[in-house]
């Protein structure tokens, strides 16, 4: 998973064709629809890669 649009696992089916209402929330605090530490870690990794400092992520 390199970008937020990439699915964290097969449970995520957000795409422009099959949109998920929770997508934005899921990007930064996901996953929302299921609990999985490794999925959460994948999303966190995207944030960590580009966050400039501790104030960077706002939501």
């Amino acid at each position: 998973m390199k970008r937020f649009i990439d699915p964290c696992c097969e449970k995520c089916n957000h795409s422009k064709e099959t949109p998920c209402k929770d997508f934005v929330e899921c990007c930064t605090n996901g996953p929302i629809c299921h609990e999985d530490a490794s999925c959460a870690a994948k999303r966190k990794a995207i944030i960590d890669r580009v966050a400039l400092n501790e104030h960077f992520v706002i939501f």
Binding site: K16, K21, V24, C27, R49, V50, F56, I58
Partner: protein, 605 residues
């Protein structure tokens, strides 16, 4: 994980002062030291301080390096990135700081600013939608999609947001009119035809944070019931257009644009229309005509675009900065935060472009209600070369000049209008004692005359005659009744021109007459320009008390009008002098003064 993030300004201001070369040098230097995996190099949007560009900010250390040249890069990489040591000589220095300043919080330019619409500029990679999302992006859209149109409109109304493009019309009200207008199709249009000389905040927002504008437009579309939008951006902004296109493509991929957005059954499509650079196309009806493929000329209102806009359909049209405010207001808890800033009648922040004889040129975002003095002296660092402040032209060619005695005026829509200027798009051109106010009025009139669409008689013919009178005055051919004629023409144009641009174009003349009438009278009656601008209305002479005979002036003079031996007082021959002003710039003693033209009569007696 990156250890360091190098955010180099890739906006037009820094690009023109050479940031592309600095970027190239950094790429090479990082490769040389095999630091590519550890250090992330990003071309960001504008951090505002164009005066000291090119700028790099290094995170997480929070170090602001400025005035960089490619040859500074090896040292920067070696000392800072490899050695962990701050390169002091590349930090911000200036008379307003005691010691080299390291970051935003210690640089006076930034201290009084409040970043709302520029919140992401210079912080994120504008070509990466993920970074926008991390900064809270598209949360307002997600929230708005759950709301009823009138709930969205109500929040915008309660925010007190007024149009940032010029007239300051309440945005929520405009949306409500369009929402209530009957139409089988509605449009959302973004006015990115920034045309005021010196103003570039819209360009900066588009270059630095394009998704904020898209998100604002999407929320507007949801509120009024529109499924298609246009961004009218001048073709002179290629970088802004490129980044907008990238942003739209990414937003489409992510499902924020297109069909059934985020599963709410809401569709929206963006179109970009490149404008050919006519100033008048910033006027909303002319802009719509231009999108339709017609000549950009305003048409009478009513009907307003809210009821009959693009192709006769109800249309919301706002400018870039207005849309960039929308996500801030609509996000969870955003409204409460937003209304805390600003004054009763003017909420939020405003971005100003500082230009002219000010020390710190660039963009600044300030809370409404801040005084002009704070903007010009605290943020802007005062006048270049420590000269005397004379006036500031606020609001571009439709605005007016504000003199020194009004410096403590709080900056909001209503006070500026009362003072004879306007908020406009937020251009501030600062003038010192070497600016001639008659010449300034002449300059702005020549701009509006050239850019007049030619449709209505008061603007097309009236500004021409006003310009001719002003030209005569600056050439020393002014007549005693010229001021009355200027004022009469100005009031006719204000009262009867077709569009907002026509009605406001006499403002620079009226405000300079209001505050600097004596300068006009001096030009007309005494044939004297005390500012040393109108070339036939003054002579230069060298003050013998101050001249130390350094010969610098004589050496720079292109026509050999200055004579004098080394260490002796120099003399200017007014017959030869072309009043180019090179010697004035050159003299370290400020010994070269402006004086009245000596006439035959004076010489003979």
């Amino acid at each position: 994980m990156y250890e360091k993030h190098l955010m180099i300004c890739g906006a037009t201001g820094c690009l023109s002062s050479g940031s592309a070369k600095v970027h190239q040098a950094l790429v090479e230097e990082l490769a040389k030291h095999k630091l590519e995996k550890k250090c992330r190099l990003v071309m960001t949007g504008c951090p505002g301080f164009c005066e000291v560009g090119p700028i790099i900010v290094i995170y997480p250390d929070e170090v602001f390096y400025c005035r960089l040249k490619p040859q500074d890069i090896p040292e920067l990489v070696e000392k800072h990135l490899l050695g962990g040591e701050i390169v002091e000589r590349l930090l911000y220095k200036g008379p307003d700081v005691d010691a080299p300043a390291r970051f935003y919080d210690t640089i006076p330019f930034y201290r009084k600013q409040k970043f709302n619409v520029l919140r992401n500029s210079g912080i994120i990679d504008p070509e990466n939608i993920d970074e926008y999302i991390m900064r809270g992006g598209y949360r307002a859209l997600s929230r708005a999609l759950k709301m009823e149109p009138m709930e969205i409109i109500d929040e915008v109304k309660r925010s007190g947001l007024r149009g940032r493009g010029g007239a300051g019309f309440p945005t929520g009200l405009k949306w409500e009119f369009t929402y209530k207008a009957v139409g089988d199709k509605k449009y959302v249009v973004c006015n990115a035809d920034e045309g005021d000389p010196g103003a570039f905040m819209d360009r900066s927002i588009l270059e630095g944070d394009p998704h904020a504008v898209l998100e604002g437009m999407l929320i507007a579309a949801r509120a009024i019931g529109s499924d298609e939008g246009y961004i009218y951006c001048r073709a002179e902004y290629p970088l802004a257009i490129k980044r907008l296109k990238t942003a739209i493509a990414q937003a489409e991929e992510y499902g924020f644009v297109g069909e059934n957005i985020l599963g709410y059954g809401f569709n929206f499509k963006f179109n970009i229309k490149e404008g050919a650079g006519a100033f008048v196309c910033g006027e909303e009806t002319a802009l719509l005509a231009s999108i339709e493929g017609k000549r950009g000329m305003p048409r009478p209102r009513p009907p307003f675009p809210a009821t009959s806009g693009l192709w006769g359909k109800p249309t919301v049209i706002n400018n870039v900065e207005t849309y960039a405010n929308i996500p801030l207001i609509l996000r969870e808890g955003g409204l409460e935060e937003f209304v805390k800033i600003g004054t009763e009648g003017s909420k939020g922040t405003k971005v100003f472009a500082l230009a002219g004889k000010i020390r710190n040129t660039g963009l600044c975002e300030v809370p409404m209600g801040i005084t002009l003095r704070e903007i010009i002296f605290d943020i802007g660092g005062g006048i270049k070369g420590g000269r005397e402040f004379k006036a500031v032209q606020a609001g571009g060619p439709s605005g007016g000049c504000i003199p020194a005695e009004k410096l403590d005026l709080p900056v909001d829509y209503d006070s500026l209008t009362q003072a004879g200027a306007i908020m406009g798009s937020g251009g501030l051109v600062v003038m010192d004692d070497r600016t001639c106010m008659v010449d300034l009025a002449r300059y702005f009139l020549s701009f509006t005359q050239k850019e007049s669409c030619g449709k209505c008689i008061p603007c097309r013919e009236g500004t021409k005659r006003m310009l001719e009178i002003l030209e005569r005055i600056t050439e020393g051919l002014g007549k005693p009744d010229d001021l009355d004629r200027l004022q009469e023409l100005a009031s006719t144009i204000k009262d009867s021109a077709l569009c907002g641009l026509g009605q406001t174009c006499p403002n620079p003349v009226l405000s300079t007459i209001r505050y600097f009438r004596h300068e006009y009278e001096e030009h007309i009656n005494e044939k004297f320009c005390r500012s040393g601008v109108c070339k036939s209305l003054f002579d230069y002479f060298i003050d013998p008390e101050l001249c130390n005979g350094c010969t610098r002036c004589a050496r720079i003079c292109p026509v050999g009008a200055i004579s004098g031996e080394r260490k002796e007082t120099h003399v200017i021959d007014p017959e030869i002098c072309t009043r180019c002003g090179s010697c004035v710039e050159r003299c370290r003693q400020e010994a070269i003064k402006v004086t009245r033209v000596r006439r035959e009569a004076d010489v003979n007696h």
